[in-house]
Amino acid sequence: MAVPGLEIPEIEPTAPWEGPNRPLPQPAFPKGGPMIDQLMQQMVNSFLIGSVYALVAIGLTLIWGVMNVINFAHGDFLMIGMFVSFWLYTLYGIDPLFSIPACAAILFVLGLLIYRFIVSKVMTGPVLAQLVVTFGVSIFLANFAVMLWTPDFRLIEKPLLSGTWSLGTVQLSIPKFAASVGSVLVSLGLFLFLRKSKTGKAILAVEMNRDSALLVGINTDRINSLSFAIGSALVGIAGAFLSMYYYIYPQVGGLFGTISFCIVALGGFGSIEGAFIAGILIGFVQTLGGYFFDPAYKYAIVFMVYLLTVWIRPKGLLGW
């Protein structure tokens, strides 16, 4: 045992639809050593991934809460964010850390366009059409990326932030830590924006009751497009964070998308706090589940926990 547990992640490129959701190996963590140390390590990893999940899910829950529309293309927005960050790095040498504003801006515009030209058109239609339309967007975006950039797996090789810190026995990956801190800060920022600013309060008002919001003179259509765009921008930021250490490929959205739906439903309809708590929770379930049972099953465990929770609380943890 020369280097304890430094497993090199194996990735096998797969064709579209043929295994994008297959669990990717998580970067190595030291195996062996006292149980308590391993557990500490797992806890830290849980929080690191959980906070990024939370950011992805908050973007989704904002859209869901305000418009009562599930954006199935949310994961693909994340993918676009990751690719924006990847290309800025590869073509212009801009580190993912500095491409965050660009990712946010591009996704903001993309969200705005998709809302204007697609989602707003089905808002008044049958529920089923609202559900299915974003699937169309999702398939379209994922395959657009395949067409432009092939289904290959990519990785930003030398981000500014790399390496690990050793805190006692716990290894802390710096890019993951940065992504986690960044996610928490952005989530907090959104929370404050919603509570303090006038626009934010208007968004919350529409979320509570659309008709009453309209009566007090809030332009609900503007709020809709704004929250769709903000939700997309948030996931763009998450994409920039993730691109620092995660594989970038056109189908990456499938995995993150499905997990974030579960997080949102677990947290409760449109609840920002709920999504944040549920995101962290799912991070723990996934990492610890993979640790105590079989890593291949960690996502199955996540979905199982989700199903069990909604059995008891059909509207999620903080749902009303």
Binding site: N68, L131, V132, F140, N143, Y297, L307, K315
Partner: protein, 290 residues
Amino acid sequence: MHVMIMLFMFGMMGVAWNIMGGYAGMFSFGQVAFFGIGAYTSSYLVTAHQVNPWIGLFIGGILAAVTAAAIGIPCSNLRGHYFAIASIAFGEIIRIHFNNWKLIGAAEGLTLPMLPESFTSFMFHSSKAPYYYIILGFLIFSLIVCYLVSTSKMGFYFRAIKESHDVAKVLGINFVHYRLMAIMISAFLTAMAGTFYAQYILYLDPESVLILPISVQVVLVAMLGGAGSVIGPVIGAAVLIPVSEFTRVLLGHKGTGIDMMIYGALIMLISVYQPKGVWGLLSSIGRRAK
């Protein structure tokens, strides 16, 4: 011929989806799990125990219905979007599990043994025509089931539940019971299609029979045709399947994803411009003509 077989198969699954989605209002995006259970059960029984696929078809259907009941109970209180997401999660659990289950070949999949060509062995090598007639028979069977359900008392209960959970409850409809019935019937029919698919393609692996896009396609077929009408899904399949098969054949071989892009764009167009489906369009024209 292949296009027609796929058309009937998806038409059948659309009809099955319609029983729970169109009538009982449970928008399932996890139909693929039942499809997979049906396909895997009969194939596993054939490969490992030489059980006749027709018996396997029946066992697979029962198994899918039992699984459906098992999953239906925790989901019985979920509504709308929550149900849709739960069904996706369920489909994913099944996929991940089958991907790791050694007994049924895990990620490598199952290859069906070559058996002599006959109706009893459900295997025909020389021509696709028998498959064509069998799936047509299945489709007609599902249509009859769907018709019987929709005109029976149960069908009215389903619609009552769809219109309003609470009102249905107040009226004394055993809400959980009827929702379970709808899911189980739907699961049984979908599993039949699964067995058929396994016998037709003769090879199964989780990444080709248990993926979300199949579920989405089933929903689309039903939606395009018009959810909540008996014949609707067949019309939907008749429109959607040829288009998706032809774009796949014409543009799909380069692996560029253009065929899927067109497919995605098509979904958006349908949802935006024809959300009530072709059947909805026809019936509204019919109403206007009167």
